[in-house]
């Protein structure tokens, strides 16, 4: 399959990239790893007159802790998360996520920023970033702005990014001690989108009670879902089996899946419940709980 014709631009600086986006507006799309965008263009489900490739823009690929945040450059490839000692040792939820995105060949190209900016509720990083309470840094010729992740996904394949903005970084508040997280995904086969998946990030207080819980759900509605009710329910409670069971029930209630080849609405909702319980249990274990 050949995409419809477009012009390709390969800016060498962020300033050039933003100038191109400002010039072409809605007619332009940012090309990062291309692992979602190019299939869309090939299938003619998406169109762009101009592709602005940020693959040659320096300074967009990094993973570092700084100023109280884990900062991930927008064009950081998934494979870099897998290989990062920092991620492997301190952010199991991000390692879990990276390892189940598409397949290893795709992960050599696919980027973390692209996974978010694509706005596909079936993508995996949105749920993880919701659970972690991340912020997205959007850069335009006017400067930088920070978008809380829960305000980022505005609709199916739609985000809060404006046409002249580039997702240049993701900022995750460095979790307090006694924190842990997990991402648990049910997929029919490697490379498939989730039938259901849950990201859970938990911080425990002095007495082992939940100080903060973040829960994100993948492919459970038109946008990635933050299971706010379940999060609130857990706050201040001991994360025992009873509490986790109830939180998982509340999370499943927040889902609005559609029927497709991956299963019925009832099945997907039930899987969201089961996976939420598993993700929470794992997160609590990482946090040093029971």
């Amino acid at each position: 399959m050949i995409p419809a014709a477009f012009d390709y631009h390969a800016p060498n600086t962020l300033a050039e990239a933003m100038a191109l986006l400002a010039r072409y507006g809605e007619a332009a799309k940012v090309l990062s790893g291309g692992q979602s965008l190019l299939p869309l263009l090939k299938l003619r489900l998406g169109y762009a007159d101009h592709l602005v490739d940020i693959g040659r823009v320096p300074g967009l690929e990094y993973i570092k802790e700084e100023d109280g945040y884990l900062k991930i450059g927008g064009a950081t490839r998934e494979v870099a998360l897998e290989r990062s000692d920092l991620i492997r040792s301190k952010y199991p939820i991000l390692l879990d996520t990276a390892l189940v995105i598409a397949d290893p060949l795709v992960r050599n190209r696919a980027t973390v920023g692209g996974n978010l900016a694509h706005g596909d509720p079936g993508n995996d990083h949105p749920a993880t970033m919701l659970a972690l309470g991340a912020e997205v840094v959007a850069t335009s010729p006017k400067g930088e702005r920070t978008i809380p992740i829960e305000k980022f996904f505005t609709g199916l394949f739609t985000t809060a990014l404006k046409p002249d903005e580039i997702l240049t970084a993701i900022k995750v508040p460095i979790p307090a001690s006694r924190s842990g997280g997990a991402y648990v995904k049910l997929e029919r086969k490697v490379g498939d989108l989730a039938t259901a998946a849950t990201a859970a990030q938990v911080t425990l207080g002095k007495n082992g009670e939940v100080e903060r819980a973040g829960i994100g759900l993948t492919n459970a509605g038109p946008t990635p879902i933050k299971a706010t009710q379940a999060e609130n329910y857990l706050q201040g409670k001991k994360p025992d089996d009873t509490a986790i069971t109830e939180a998982a029930r509340l999370a499943a209630q927040a889902t609005a899946p559609t029927v497709d080849r991956r299963g019925s609405v009832e099945y997907k909702r039930e899987m969201a419940r089961v996976l939420t319980a598993r993700a929470l249990t794992q997160a609590v274990q990482w946090a040093g709980g029971h």
Partner: protein, 156 residues
């Protein structure tokens, strides 16, 4: 729409081409540069038949634009054999019957090549993880895993 002059190195040799923006890397490799060892399978980023190495990393060349490869190094299945000598990976697929129809084989071998560059002694599990983006409809993967193990043992 705009044509771009690009330069890529394939298996150590520099090539230049004038390409449309929308030309896929796999078509540059097969139709323009005529390295037809690289196959097109699903054309939808699933099967991995079109796997080549881009700057040493295995990628699906149906999901990369030719212009994105400008100035970069490519390696295709034709780059494995040297001076009439099969690469140990090719020898492994021969000896261990790592193929039946052969359609997935070039891509499978490129992924295996990249794996062995990084990890000279992969376990069966590591091999299965590495090739999980390359689909084979004939072998059930048993003999592919054995072929890659064969190469791992043979490679210095």
């Amino acid at each position: 729409m705009a044509e771009h002059k690009i330069r890529v190195t394939v298996n150590g040799t520099a090539h230049e081409a004038e390409v449309e923006s929308r030309l896929l890397l796999v078509h540059l490799i097969r139709d323009v540069l005529r390295f037809t060892g690289t196959h097109i399978g699903c054309d939808t980023t699933h099967c991995g038949a079109c796997t080549v190495l881009l700057d040493g990393e295995p990628i699906k060349s149906c999901t990369v634009l030719a212009v994105q490869a400008d100035g970069r190094q490519l390696m295709t299945v034709e780059g494995l054999e040297k001076d009439g000598q099969l690469h140990p990976i090719q020898e492994g697929f021969w000896e261990k019957h790592g193929l039946q129809c052969g359609y997935c084989t070039p891509g499978m071998m490129m992924t295996a090549y990249a794996l062995l560059q990084q990890n000279g002694n992969p376990s069966e599990d590591e091999i299965r993880q590495a090739i999980s983006g390359n689909l084979c409809r004939c072998t059930g993967y048993m003999n592919i895993v054995k072929s890659i193990r064969y190469a791992a043992e043979k490679l210095p």
